[in-house]
Symmetry: C2
Subunit: 422 residues, 2 copies
């Protein structure tokens, strides 16, 4: 029956757009694989091509018909991806690299923050950026610095999985550091928004040692409690579920568990993907882990590309056009921020003191900012700390780090392999 | 990062609601399975409980935050389900029962239409329904009659699959008849909306033999062409795809194919699920059918329950409250329409002339109206042919047919089995 539904995005359009996303991501993914690059890069490129700034075949901006649904499907995709990666990860091995991960995370936050902060101060000094008053300039510098601290565990985890390196010690260090980074990023976010709020009101409100401590404790408390409680109860629960008869109950129980953990992570103020990752770690210890992993794979195949295509679709490539002379200052700013973003994270690999590890690969693995960086940029725009041009520059930086990491990471591990083979 | 998104339905809420849908549908599905009923009944009941008229835990009315996304996911679920069923169906066997299916479909349209039409005329005669002028009364009678002709292939197909009867000749006849029914339903829909439009304008526009013929040819033409062309090209295409390397490409190509067929079916004026079913029939003939079927299963497990839960959630059980005396006339009308709906479809099983078939099961398999009936009811409301009470009565009829079919169908096949065993 072909009738109008009382929704803004009709079913046929939804199915058509979904098919386009799947086809484009797999065709370009296959091409990138053939030139020996990770398929996730192909999915990002497919997103750029399908997005608003090129073909405009898929909704890529909030408010467009169907955007909300594809945005939610994309989030579902990254939640499923991190759940899958958690399932493949051994918690003991993750804890073994805990100290190393923490050092990597801290260096990977301090270095890019300082570099980003100083860059903005320098831009002001050389007239590339001007602000009405020095206080605003300081706030912009802090917000840009904060944006540079983010790490997108989604992109890196996917690349590591694409190139079959998810089980290496380097991968454990990166994943551990990215999770810690998310917690520290949360604290930075709280401090920065507090600072912005305070500066708007001309007050010293919003930030206090107690607030910062509360946020920190809540986040760490959630992670530790959810993993310990999960380990204690899921073994028996999933043994019971496996005995039930109704079709699909084991897979759906596992997915529901991941969704609820993601939900609880949000409630605790963390990113949902951290909760999904924790859920995977917990279920990896149950006797059903292998079956769940196997059945989860087709689901992950279906929804994960939506996330990477949507990340690519958010890029507005018109700001990169160098033939428009008005873009030059912002292109310089974007380029410097990008260089700072790469260097700032790359150095954190060399904070690793253990011998025999691929430090370059660890540094590169921390580079992509992905959706977490975009969230910071969005806050900067929403609070009017960034104007649209600076927002574009920051977004460009985020996107470039996301695009550059997959080939570099593949290369870093590849050279390692060549050494091993000698 | 826990920040506000520029969408009306935040990610954490989405994941929470999704988890609730999965958990409730599987818990109640397991319980219905234990009392030897098809799990789909449990999913429908889960939907009623979670929907707006009981717990209001999930968006069940158009316009509520998140409704569009879950509505689209539900449609995705039924498209995937029909694709899966198509994959498991042998086209040759379907064609063998083609004549029988056509007879069943035609009787299953004529009988309920006549009975429904006469019931409304009778209600008017006995004062249960009153209209300003006789023309309106006639229009209402025609629209109710049309609503009664629908068959929901989704519900029946799912029940047949639940009780492992999808490979029986009865199942082929029902599925074939339901597909033909959808095409005939489309023509009835065109005629009825044409009649309504004409009556609004006081003109004889909207319906002509040419129009009716065009719609019919387009629908049949689409089905035949899509199956023939599909058979000719997919064999080679899927042999090629199987050789590609990128993860998930075979499954995603198959799903994209189903989505595009569903899209084309919409364009041809058919229900999307008819296209998805045709896509399944086509791919069933490829050498990759078994692998696709196997990998599609977990995806189907995840999204199919969303459809049945959303169908259940649309029920407003307050109109069934007999303690509210204002509900009595409409309860009588609903009950009569329900009886007519059951009898009208049940008799079509006995239009089968072949020996050795379970005629009761075929008749019962045609009973559920599901979403197709709801679409007719919605049109009646949208065009102001139905007032809200008559709409509720028609909706109640649709829902009851949907609820009654699963246990009856199981019973009809069950008694058959007992006979076989003797």
């Amino acid at each position: 029956m072909n009738v109008e539904h009382a929704v803004s995005f009709p079913v046929e359009k939804f199915l058509f757009v979904f098919a386009i996303i799947l086809i484009a991501s797999k065709v370009i993914g296959e091409l990138t694989e053939r030139i020996k690059q990770p398929p996730v890069l192909g999915e990002l490129i497919a997103g750029v091509l399908l997005g608003g700034s090129v073909l405009a075949l898929i909704p890529s901006v909030s408010g467009q018909p169907g955007y909300e649904t594809f945005h939610l499907l994309a989030e579902l995709g990254v939640v499923i991806l991190l759940f899958e990666i958690g399932l493949e990860t051994d918690l003991n091995e993750l804890l073994e690299v805990g100290v190393t991960s923490t050092i990597v995370a801290i260096v990977g936050i301090v270095a890019p923050f300082v570099l980003g902060f100083l860059s903005i101060i320098a831009f002001q000094k050389y007239g590339l950026l001007t602000f009405a008053n020095p206080a605003t300039g300081m706030l912009v510098a802090i917000t840009v610095g904060a944006t540079l601290t983010a790490t997108s565990v989604g992109i890196t985890a996917r690349v590591l999985s694409d190139i079959n390196k998810i089980q290496t010690p380097e991968a454990k260090i990166i994943l551990g550091a990215a999770v810690i980074d998310d917690i520290l990023g949360l604290i930075i976010l709280a401090v920065v928004t507090g600072l912005i709020e305070a500066s708007k009101q001309g007050l010293e409100t919003g930030i206090s040692a107690v607030n910062v401590l509360t946020i920190t404790l809540k986040a760490f408390g959630f992670l530790i409690a959810s993993i310990i409680i999960g380990m204690l109860v899921t073994g028996k629960i999933f043994n019971f579920i496996q005995k039930l008869k109704v079709r699909g109950i084991l897979l759906l129980s596992a997915i529901s568990f991941a969704f609820l953990y993601a939900y609880l992570a949000y409630i605790a103020g963390l990113a949902g993907i951290v909760g999904a990752f924790a859920a995977g770690l917990v279920l990896a210890k149950t006797g059903q882990a292998k079956i769940i992993e196997e059945r989860l794979r087709p689901v992950s195949d279906l929804v994960t590309p939506v996330f990477f295509v949507m990340v690519g679709a958010a890029v507005d490539i018109s700001v990169f056009n160098p033939f428009n002379s008005g873009n030059i200052p912002i292109l310089i700013i974007a380029f410097v921020l990008f260089a700072v973003a790469v260097i700032g994270k790359f150095v954190c690999g060399f904070a690793v003191f253990k011998e025999g590890l691929n430090k370059k690969a660890i540094g590169i693995g921390m580079i992509p900012r992905g959706e977490v960086g975009l969230i910071f940029a969005q806050i900067g725009l929403a609070y009017a700390v960034f104007d649209i041009k600076l927002f574009s520059a920051v977004t460009a930086m985020v996107m470039l780090t996301t695009f550059i990491a997959p080939p570099l990471l593949k290369k870093a591990f590849g050279s390692d392999e060549e050494l091993d083979n000698k």
